[in-house]
């Protein structure tokens, strides 16, 4: 038996990669440059695809391979390319300008990670047979942290494009939650979710472009004419 066929090894690998995903998410909070942010997102999605592959391998669940391949195609290749082209096309200033300064943002992200762990603890049923705990309830904690930090980034960012990125990283958290809790949703649902994600990115991209054209800025805090 090779060392990589050992489930223990697989679990450790998954935990390691999940930890890296979390690190990248916090790096995204602290990152100043838009293009780097897009690449961090791509790297994070790549790790996610790796986690999915690992889980598929150790649990003999072939449909997760498809989800992993889709993650790679959509989130590692297609979406980042689309976004970078958009950035080049609309020619904006590269800095992100969050509302809360970066050190405090990172502290808040750390706090949210803690919350993620506390919440994930309530799902930990070590006695039940097919418990996801076999894959480390660390993964679920990371997933919930990604979700929460994604929310925080949405609030913390003013530029339209960075809000889209935050929404996408929030979605990464959901994907991780799905594969760590239930080894992924049924395939057809997974396909639908990816399709929606793809269309949503394009729709939001077009909106960002038109907002930029109309307002000569991407600062969504300028969008405040409609009130009452």
């Amino acid at each position: 038996m090779y060392f990589y066929q050992d489930t223990q090894f697989g679990e450790r690998m998954i935990t390691l990669m999940a930890a890296l995903v979390l690190v990248l998410q916090i790096a995204m909070v602290g990152q100043r440059w838009l293009v780097t942010n897009i690449r961090v997102f791509a790297a994070q999605s790549f790790l996610l695809a790796c986690i999915a592959n690992t889980i598929a391998y150790y649990n003999h669940a072939p449909h997760i391979y498809i989800a992993a391949a889709l993650t790679f195609l959509v989130k590692v290749v297609f979406v980042p390319i689309l976004m970078e082209r958009l950035v080049a096309k609309i020619d904006i200033r590269q800095e992100i300008e969050p509302l809360i300064n970066i050190p405090i943002s990172i502290l808040i992200a750390g706090g949210l990670t803690l919350v993620g762990y506390v919440v994930a603890e309530s799902f930990y049923h070590p006695k039940e047979g097919i418990s996801p705990a076999t894959l480390g309830h660390n993964t679920l904690a990371v997933a919930i942290s990604l979700f929460l930090i994604g929310f925080f980034m949405m609030i913390n960012r003013r530029k339209a494009l960075t809000q889209v990125l935050a929404l996408l990283s929030l979605e990464n958290g959901l994907f991780l939650a799905a594969i760590s809790l239930t080894y992924g949703m049924p395939l057809i649902v997974e396909l639908g979710v990816f399709f929606d994600l793809l269309v949503a990115t394009m729709v939001l991209g077009i909106l960002v472009y038109r907002i930029r054209e109309t307002f000569d800025s991407m600062d969504v805090s300028q969008l405040r004419r409609l009130r009452g």
Binding site: F151, I188, V203
Partner: protein, 498 residues
């Protein structure tokens, strides 16, 4: 077959309208598709009433009385909007609302956007109601947002971009919570059923086993679903996109969002409500829904009272009605679900007319601000003005109109359940909104003739309104027995479970 053809008709119509070159062709396609959809919806409702639930495509699609009711309402609103849209956009063109430099090709391009996205929008709404898999239902709900974002930006004004951005982002965040809730539901079900089954999220399977689901997870799942689908339904405090979108979108689109999409979002909530109450007993979900329902009604009150624009007024009315329906569901008991579904039915039939009247008024006066409309509308537009007043009375739930009956049913359910404080608040909110709404619209419609040019608009904008008006008045006195039977058996789907 029937279920699939419902989806296929709208999908084909979208493709055909996209390929069409002339405006009249696009109008015809849309009108034809809507009438065909309504016919199929009626056939579906009849077959569900006769022989129970239907499944198709290997269990992917499923329709019981609840889905049939939602499909029927969506297609009714679709027909009404398709007819009205023809006159509405022709008038827009005459008034030169489209871009200044516009040639004929620009106008046709804009119209093509409307006529091809609208069937897509309807298609995804129908899929929400017909999907058996709760995950697919989520995908379809997200699809409704994606299909309608560019309908909101139709006029391309800076304000409509702002509205569309809020709509897409708030909707996207909300639905991501909905997806998390769906994942958690799947997880709590997988502890019972295992994850291997393809139909692991199929409603027809889940509902039979809901009692054994993991309780902690289901509790959390319902909270996420409530936040997520509540955002889509515009339940307070996630309602903030609604006034912007309803006032910026073209009137037929706004009417569809208010009268059809609201039902679909609530339908999603309803499915999870049934699962949750089977799993945890009705109290948990009901208490949450009661808080959010009352909050929605309460939030609407001050904004209705001090509202300056009649388009935004309608949005707050829609938030209020969403709250009423949620509250009906929360009251539970034998009458709660029935009251809610009756309210949904009557609301969907009544609301489009209110939007159409507001649309005619806005197109004629070139403003949606009460301040700039000087009142006395009825002198310039007798039919629209009179109908505006009648529908206002109907929507605010005054007798003899049908919404009074459903609100009364919900009230009964509240008293039966012993929820006295919520009931008192419910009545207080209803009465205040009635008063505020009526004062605004009466000032707009009645009063001395301010000398606006007299113009009753073209036939396409007049007769659908009169037709709807007749339906609303008749419905106040006579509810067709098959429709009532459908609502009753839909309520049974909700209630049998508790």
């Amino acid at each position: 077959m029937l279920l699939l053809s419902l989806l296929a008709v709208t999908l084909l119509a979208a493709g055909a309208a996209f390929a069409a070159r002339r405006r009249s062709v696009m109008e015809g396609i849309n009108l034809g598709a809507s009438v065909l959809t309504l016919t199929l919806a009626v056939v579906l409702a009849a077959s569900v009433l006769r022989s129970g639930s239907v499944t198709a495509v290997g269990g992917l699609l499923y329709a019981d009385a609840l889905s049939a009711l939602v499909v029927l309402l969506v297609s009714f609103v679709y027909v009404a909007c398709s007819v009205y849209a023809i006159g509405y956009f022709r008038d827009d063109e005459k008034n030169g609302v489209f871009d200044q430099e516009s040639g004929a090709s620009v106008i046709v391009g804009k119209l093509r956007k409307y006529y091809s996205l609208t069937p897509l929008f309807v298609c995804s709404m129908l899929l929400v109601a017909l999907a058996n898999n709760l995950g697919i239902m989520w995908v379809a709900l997200e699809g409704t947002t994606l299909a309608s974002v560019f309908l909101v930006t139709f006029y391309g004004r800076p304000t409509s971009l702002e509205a569309a951005w809020k709509y897409a982002i708030i909707g996207g965040v909300g639905l991501s919570m909905g997806l998390f809730g769906t994942i958690l539901t799947y997880y709590s079900a997988s502890l019972v059923m295992g994850t291997e089954t393809l139909g692991g999220l199929n409603w027809s399977v889940l509902v039979t086993k809901a009692a054994q689901f993991d309780k902690t997870t289901m509790r959390l799942a319902f909270i996420f679903i409530l936040m997520g689908y509540g955002t889509k339904a515009g339940i307070a405090p996630m309602h903030t996109w609604k006034p912007d979108v309803y006032s910026e979108a073209p009137v037929p689109v706004a009417a569809m969002l208010a009268a059809a999409l609201l039902n679909c979002a609530l339908y999603g909530l309803l499915r999870f409500f049934i699962l949750t109450s089977r799993c945890l007993g009705p109290e948990f979900a009901s208490q949450l829904l009661m808080v959010f329902g009352l909050l929605s009604m309460g939030v609407a009150v001050p904004f209705v009272l001090v509202q300056r624009s009649f388009r935004r007024l309608l949005a707050y009315s829609s938030i209020d009605h969403g709250g009423i329906m949620v509250l009906g569901l929360a009251f539970g008991g034998p009458l709660g679900a029935l009251g809610m579904l009756l309210h949904m039915t009557f609301h969907s039939i009544t609301k489009p007319l209110l939007f159409f009247c507001a649309g005619n008024t806005q197109q004629h006066l070139k403003t949606d601000q009460f301040r700039r409309a000087k009142g006395g509308l009825i002198h310039a537009m007798p039919i629209t003005g009179a109908l505006f007043l009648v529908t206002t009375l109907a929507v605010t739930g005054s007798p003899p109109f049908s919404l009074f009956q459903s609100e009364f049913t919900i009230l009964r359910a509240g008293f039966d359940g012993g929820h006295y404080v919520p009931v008192v608040l419910f009545i207080a909110f209803l009465v205040t909104i009635f008063a505020g709404f009526l004062v605004h619209i009466a000032r707009l419609v009645l009063g001395p003739d301010p000398g606006i040019p007299h113009a009753e608009t073209c036939a396409w904008k007049k007769y659908p309104l009169v037709g709807l008006g007749v339906v609303i008045v008749v419905l106040g006195f006579w509810l067709p027995a098959p429709l009532y039977a459908l609502v009753q058996s839909a309520a049974r789907v909700v209630r049998e479970v508790q």
